[in-house]
């Protein structure tokens, strides 16, 4: 297996050594990380020290593996004790699960890797050099390239990723400048494409409800038919339920088969909670989420 200069700087050798040791001494039953395959980087569940040698970390490792800790994934819970390789954004999701008491910290060993940004194409055959064209827009402005919520921290400090051609903030700002009628037209056209596969929900590490409101039929709050009205309720509700909780890993948008710009919607709400409550999602499970907390002097300019 290739272990280039880039790989050493990324701490791949350390990662493999650590994973092998954790598996060999029985500290964990499975190490969840990324491996190289004929279809680029993909998640791997390494259960033996030999399999640990397949682990990699490079710019294609964009999957948020924290989603495997989501309590909805019973099949992963059943695997026993896990070690999870996490980037900074993934660490925020782990913190979110801990904060909301959806995860037992004892159940998981967190192997943090210092991250210099990821690309948008996990299926590239080789690690992708980050340029404004290739870097994932969500990596712009990342405040957590070195995760704090970890048991082990690997890799050398990485340089900041390049600024993408079009940042999420620029896209939000472009939409903010529109009139309500234009926004309505834009978002209804986007939501119209939704096929209600709920991939955005399934992949989201923070969508933790055992029974989603979209699946409830008595009463049926969200119309299940994928006509634009049901789609509107669903997409707005999904975004709202993630307000102040979304870690911005962008997995929902990556998984969306219809190409709905969910990351833009999420980024908008990140900005809202930042502007209103000076809140940024961090990988600290002790910090409360803005919804579910309050201050006596919260803004209320919109209330008569």
């Amino acid at each position: 297996m290739r272990c280039s200069d880039e790989g050493r700087r990324g701490g791949v050798k350390e990662l493999r050594d650590l994973a092998r040791q954790l598996l060999a001494d029985g500290t964990v039953d499975v190490v969840v990380g990324w491996e190289d395959s004929s279809r680029g980087a993909r998640p791997i569940f390494a259960g033996t020290p030999e399999e640990a040698d397949k682990l990699i970390f490079d710019t294609r490792c964009l999957h948020n593996l924290a989603t495997y800790l989501n309590p909805r994934r019973k099949q992963v819970t059943d695997l026993g004790k896990l070690a999870l390789v996490i980037k900074g954004c993934d660490a925020k999701a782990v913190a979110g699960l801990l904060r909301e008491m959806q995860l037992d910290r004892e159940r998981v060993v967190l192997i943090g890797v210092r991250c210099g940004g990821v690309c948008e194409d996990s299926m590239a055959p080789e690690p992708v050099a980050l340029t404004p064209e290739t870097v994932a827009p969500r990596c712009h402005g990342c405040d957590n390239r070195e995760p704090h919520l970890v048991d082990h921290l690997l890799g050398e400090p990485r340089p900041e990723p390049p600024v993408p051609l079009l940042t999420l903030d620029e896209r939000v700002a472009a939409l903010d400048a529109l009139t309500p009628a234009q926004l309505w037209e834009y978002w209804t056209a986007q939501f119209e494409k939704c096929v209600r596969c709920y991939a955005c929900r399934q992949v989201c590490p923070m969508c933790v409800c055992e029974r989603c409101v979209a699946d409830k039929s008595r009463p049926q709050w969200i119309e299940t038919a994928s006509h634009p009205r049901g789609n509107f309720s669903w997409n707005v509700t999904r975004a709202l339920h993630l307000a102040g909780r979304c870690v911005g890993c962008g997995e929902c948008e990556r998984f969306c088969p219809a190409g709905i710009p969910l990351a833009v919607l999420n980024r908008k709400l990140q900005r809202v909670v930042k502007e209103r409550y000076d809140y940024r999602v961090a990988d600290d499970p002790e910090v409360k989420t803005p919804i579910g907390d309050y201050r006596l002097d919260d803004q209320q300019e919109f209330i008569k």
């Binding site: 309500p180 926004l183 102040g244 908008k268 209330i303 008569k304």
Partner: protein
């Protein structure tokens, strides 16, 4: 209600002069409901377009209620409860305030005219304020016309409209569609 032309969901869908807005008000039991009651017993004159739904607390009001109201034909929605520090359950309205601040911004971002949704604090003694809130909400809804955009979304021809993309948004979507 004075001028109901039909009982279907699409009543008075033209911006005709005889359009009577339908406003759904989600109010808290302890303050605004009592305030509305006071407005009634005080014989205050106000628009009669509001259907009140009484809930224990503004904290009980899920934003989905509002979405559902629009879906089922509301032209405007009022959410009202106890003033800060007056909540019967101590902090329900504080939680609601945060939730609705985010919801307010989100609805604005997806293009629902802010005039469609009114948030207010109305105490049990503020019958006159309730009247003003109602009159203002009805006035705004009258100005904006029936909110057919939302409730008829389910009638869109999806295949025909699939590629509809407002030209003005080209800047916003440019470069965001690949991958």
């Amino acid at each position: 209600m004075s001028n109901e032309t039909s009982t279907t969901g699409l009543a008075g869908d033209s911006k005709a002069a005889d359009f009577e807005p339908r406003i759904t008000a989600f109010v808290c039991n302890w303050c605004t409901y009592t305030g509305a009651d006071l407005a009634g017993t005080s014989r205050l004159r106000m628009a009669s377009n509001v259907r009140i739904i009484r809930l224990p607390c503004t904290g009980r009001i899920d934003p989905l209620f509002i979405i559902k109201a629009f879906e089922r034909g509301a032209d405007g929605v009022i959410v009202s409860g106890c003033h800060p520090a007056d909540c019967h359950y101590t902090a329900g309205n504080y939680h609601a305030r945060r939730r609705f601040a985010v919801f307010h911004d989100l609805m604005q971002f997806v293009g629902v005219d802010p005039g469609r949704i009114t948030f207010s604090w109305v105490s049990a003694s503020e019958g006159a304020k309730w009247r003003d809130v109602v009159n203002e909400a009805v006035g705004k809804a009258r100005e904006l016309g029936p909110f057919t955009e939302y409730r008829t979304l389910n009638q869109h021809n999806v295949s025909a409209d699939h590629v509809r993309e407002p030209a003005v948004c080209a800047a916003a979507t440019k470069g965001g569609e690949e991958a």
